[in-house]
């Protein structure tokens, strides 16, 4: 046998140019196609596509925008990871939205009432948010395993219930207080000992100077991403999760308890959802008010889809969405309605989903051909094993 790695091995291991080309080529291709469609759309609305995109890029790369985009991306990222955990086992947690809002409200009320020395208040607040999010999601999980209620329906309904509950609790008679001089209602401010400082200081120490305030909890999103990746790929739990999603029958026969997995996955997803509001609460607003960012749970579904449930893919998707949202304002200056950004986001997601499916089918066909071909020409692990 020659020492050179045969081409078939390179292809199957994803080493060769073909494998790499597909892995990197598919998303690049999808983005190019959606950029093309976007250009056409801009043209149709009467704008000059090149200068519009140029304006978006120019505005999006100013230091102020970069900070805002990173802050937005942090929220999107946490939200998308919460959704992706469910997606991994074909569990659609539509309720991330309700889970994070309820968690943020209750955690804000707790943090506002606490006065603990530095790390403990923050940790307690974050843990409380994760517990609230997890418990709220657990309702849907328990309903599914005991009564067979579809998690899609129950989480949508739980979103409405969360909205009602928040409206009830965010009241001067209960958890909130009126802000003097405005119509806003908010929970008591988090004391300064319970806040998380901006990252700007740490970054300027290594030579990056940014204006504004970069969320101090941005690293939490990175840690969540890494933990997600490690759990999915390197742990038994991740394996069970993957098998349950791909082949529920095989999972059951292999000893995975479907009910346990559903509840555990929902709780985990809800706990991550609880984190979504934390960077804003502890790093910027210090209170839960009527102005607290809403709807992040739904953006998360789209971002998870765009990022293919992969921690790195979701990171790119979160930044892309944040960039589009951030730069939508500048479009008005070139006389393009800012709502076109929503269309662009839709185009990106659809293109990515379609391109990936086509590539996947192409790959399956190629693999089957490769297997048949290699066996016919004698590359066979069974025979090679005996020869040795």
């Amino acid at each position: 046998m020659s020492k050179k790695v045969p081409a078939w091995q390179a292809v199957l291991r994803g080493l060769g140019p073909r494998g790499m080309a597909l892995r990197i080529g598919a998303p690049v291709l999808a983005l190019l196609i959606s950029l093309g469609i976007t250009m056409v759309l801009l043209r149709v609305t009467g704008a000059d596509p090149v200068s519009s995109v140029q304006a978006m890029v120019d505005y999006g790369t100013t230091p102020n925008s970069v900070v805002d985009i990173l802050n937005r991306a942090t929220r999107y990222y946490l939200s998308a990871v919460a959704v992706a955990i469910g997606f991994r086992m074909a569990l659609l947690n539509i309720g991330v939205d309700g889970q994070y809002r309820l968690a943020a409200l209750l955690a804000a009320a707790l943090a506002g009432a606490l006065s603990l020395p530095a790390p403990f208040g923050q940790i307690l607040t974050i843990v409380a948010a994760m517990v609230v999010g997890g418990l709220w999601a657990a309702i849907a999980g328990v309903l599914k395993v005991t009564r067979g209620v579809s998690e899609v329906l129950s989480t949508i309904m739980l979103n409405s219930i969360a909205t009602g509950l928040i409206a009830y609790l965010l009241n001067p008679k209960r958890l909130a207080e009126m802000r003097p001089g405005s119509n806003n209602i908010a929970t008591p401010q988090v004391p300064s000992s319970g806040r998380v400082g901006a990252l700007n200081g740490a970054l300027s120490a290594i030579g990056i100077d940014l204006p504004g305030r970069l969320y101090g909890l941005l690293p939490v999103a990175i840690v969540v991403g890494i933990v997600f990746w490690v759990v999915v790929n390197y742990t038994r739990f991740g394996f069970d999760l993957k098998v349950s999603g791909l082949a529920p029958g095989a999972a059951e026969a292999s000893g995975v308890s479907a009910k346990k997995m559903i509840v555990v996955t929902m709780v985990t997803s809800g706990a991550i959802a609880g984190l979504i509001g934390m960077p804003e609460l502890l790093g910027a607003s210090y209170e839960y008010s009527l102005n607290f960012p809403a709807g992040l749970g739904f953006t998360g579904i789209t971002v998870a889809l765009l990022g293919r449930n992969h921690p790195l893919g979701i990171a790119f998707a979160a930044v892309l969405f944040a960039f589009l949202d951030q730069t939508s304002d500048v479009l008005q200056e070139v006389e393009v309605p800012k709502e076109i950004v929503g269309v662009m986001q839709g185009v990106v997601v659809l293109t990515v989903v379609i391109v990936y499916e086509l590539v996947r089918r192409f790959e399956i066909r190629r693999e089957q051909r490769a297997v048949a071909g290699e066996l016919a020409t004698g590359h066979d692990l069974a025979r090679a094993g005996k020869g040795r």
């Binding site: 291991r13 016919a376 020409t377």
Partner: protein, 504 residues
């Protein structure tokens, strides 16, 4: 002598790296049912695609009614009177039978579709060939047998004189198979030619006028007379060697009871007992066979043993311990190995690579895991070992399981389940739908494991396998064990009648 309906001469078709057909010679006379047999992957499908114009041969000629033709597309083939009924039906559910039949070949009158003429033509064909279907019924509620008749009508409506049927019985139940065969005889009586592709030898022998066998891309026997050839001979031609026989040599049965099931009852959610008061014992080194017509509680019994389905009453003792209420994972960790009936749905994750499939069902055990962590290196190394030891034909362990043939998938499952020194094996149809080479390998594995002291519960629909491989043989009927027969003396016929309850 009249010209043959179809004559293929010296057909060769190469794909990159593979020769799918090599020097195939095949003659099909007019007005006969001609069967083409061969194992999966022997080249039957490629040959039929060539005849139907879907692929062009690299060498060789196709003659139809004595005239040499070049078929560039299925449309060419249809124009020459060749029609194909695919294994997977291609019908529009929301259209009627009539609309499906004429779709793409609509008769027109004054620029509009002439439904009356089409209806008359279909009624006429239905009557003439005994293909009973109501042209105005929707396709959606029709059963598989009816749908197949619609497919045949579609082909006939386009004027086919030669019908290619690709594994037509694969989707049918026995009564429907009988009906199909009656239809085929009618077609033959009307002078049509049928080319029937199958690997079910009993069916081939009962319906064909002539049989040809294809192996590794070439015809190894042509125009055999079904009256003069046996199923066994055909099978040997298909695989090119003597067939393996399921048989056990000296008894290895010990008196140590590994599995003791007492009074086990399993109920459906509605409360009906699908497994009814079953008691059986399996000792170490013993293979206990379970014979029964499908759907008589075998599947539910197995699922109860594996902990997938709860027992309503009764006990399951495993190695002396009551495991009746143990979850599946605990049973598997205790050494119960499982070969599920449906390997695609329950035995494998088709999208996942082989090494991940090797972990399936053993994801908590070495060499696949260390504590909560997956041991990729251990699992991968052990997958390579299984591939070599169990002769899993694959170019590598990163190939998705779905890319392997059924026999190789099953060998991987058997190899996986035999790993880690199991004490009990629950095997459901371990050799169903796989080629004879893999079948022999799996029988060898079962025999070796039995000799090493494994207790085996074997459920199978293959009576020869059950009789040959069992030390003890039970018959299950409507969820009850109704008879215990001696596998050394029972004949398949006797066993068959016991399974249907014909003898008490």
């Amino acid at each position: 002598m009249p010209d043959a309906a179809v004559r293929l001469t010296g057909i060769t078709k190469r794909f990159p790296g593979v020769v799918a057909n090599r020097d195939v010679d095949l003659t099909i006379e007019r007005g006969e049912v001609h069967a083409l047999c061969g194992e999966n992957g022997a080249g039957k499908s490629t040959l039929m695609k060539i005849l139907y114009g879907m692929q062009r041969p690299d060498e060789g000629t196709v003659e139809i009614d004595g005239e040499q033709v070049v078929l560039r597309s299925p449309a060419d083939a249809i124009a020459r009177g060749i029609g194909m009924v695919h294994q997977h039906f291609k019908l529009a559910d929301n259209l009627t039978v009539l609309e499906n039949v004429i779709l793409g070949a609509e008769p027109r009158r004054f620029g509009r579709i002439d439904f009356a003429a089409a209806r008359a033509a279909i009624r006429d064909m239905s009557a003439r060939y005994g293909l009973r279907v109501d042209p105005d019924s929707l396709v959606q509620p029709l059963g598989v047998g009816d749908r197949q008749r619609v497919e045949i009508l579609k082909v006939l409506y386009r004027g086919a004189k030669v019908l290619i049927l690709d594994e037509p019985t694969a989707v049918l139940v026995p009564q429907e198979v009988d009906e199909l065969f009656a239809n085929l005889r009618e077609l033959r009586a009307e002078g049509l030619t049928v080319l029937f592709i199958s690997h079910k030898l009993d069916e081939v022998l009962s319906v064909a006028d002539a049989i040809s066998v294809i192996r590794r891309g070439t015809t190894v026997a042509t125009r055999l007379d079904p009256a003069e050839v046996t199923a066994r001979r055909l099978a040997e031609l298909m695989v090119g060697s003597e067939l393996p026989t399921p048989e056990l040599r000296e008894s290895t049965v010990t008196d140590e009871v590994q599995l003791d099931v007492a009074g086990l009852t399993v109920r459906t959610p509605e409360g009906r007992a699908v497994v009814d008061d079953v008691s059986l014992r399996i000792r170490r080194g013993e293979i206990v066979g379970l014979a029964g017509v499908e759907g008589n509680g075998q599947g539910e019994l197995i699922e109860a043993l594996m902990g997938i389905r709860p027992a309503a009453s009764g006990t399951i003792r495993y190695g002396g311990v009551d495991v009746t209420h143990w979850p599946t994972r605990r049973r598997r960790e205790a050494g119960i190995a499982y070969i599920p009936e449906d390997r695609h749905r329950h035995g494998l994750v088709l999208e996942a690579p082989l090494w991940e499939n090797r972990m399936l069902g053993h994801q908590t055990e070495r060499p696949n895991a260390r504590g909560p962590w997956i041991d990729r290196r251990g699992a991968r190394r052990d997958t390579a070992r299984i591939a070599a030891e169990y002769d899993v034909r694959t170019p590598g362990i990163d190939v998705p399981a779905g890319a392997l043939s059924g026999g190789n998938q099953q060998k991987l499952i058997v190899g996986r389940e035999m790993s880690g020194a199991p004490k009990l094996l629950v095997a459901a149809h371990p050799t169903r739908g796989i080629d004879v080479g893999a079948q022999a390998a799996i029988w060898d594995a079962l025999r070796a494991a039995r000799a090493a002291g494994l207790a085996v519960l074997l459920v199978s629909a293959d009576l020869e396998e059950l009789i040959g491989m069992s030390d003890t043989l039970h018959v299950i009927l409507r969820g009850r064990l109704v008879a215990e027969v001696d596998p050394r003396s029972v004949t398949p016929e006797d066993l068959g009648s016991a399974m249907t309850g014909a003898v008490s």
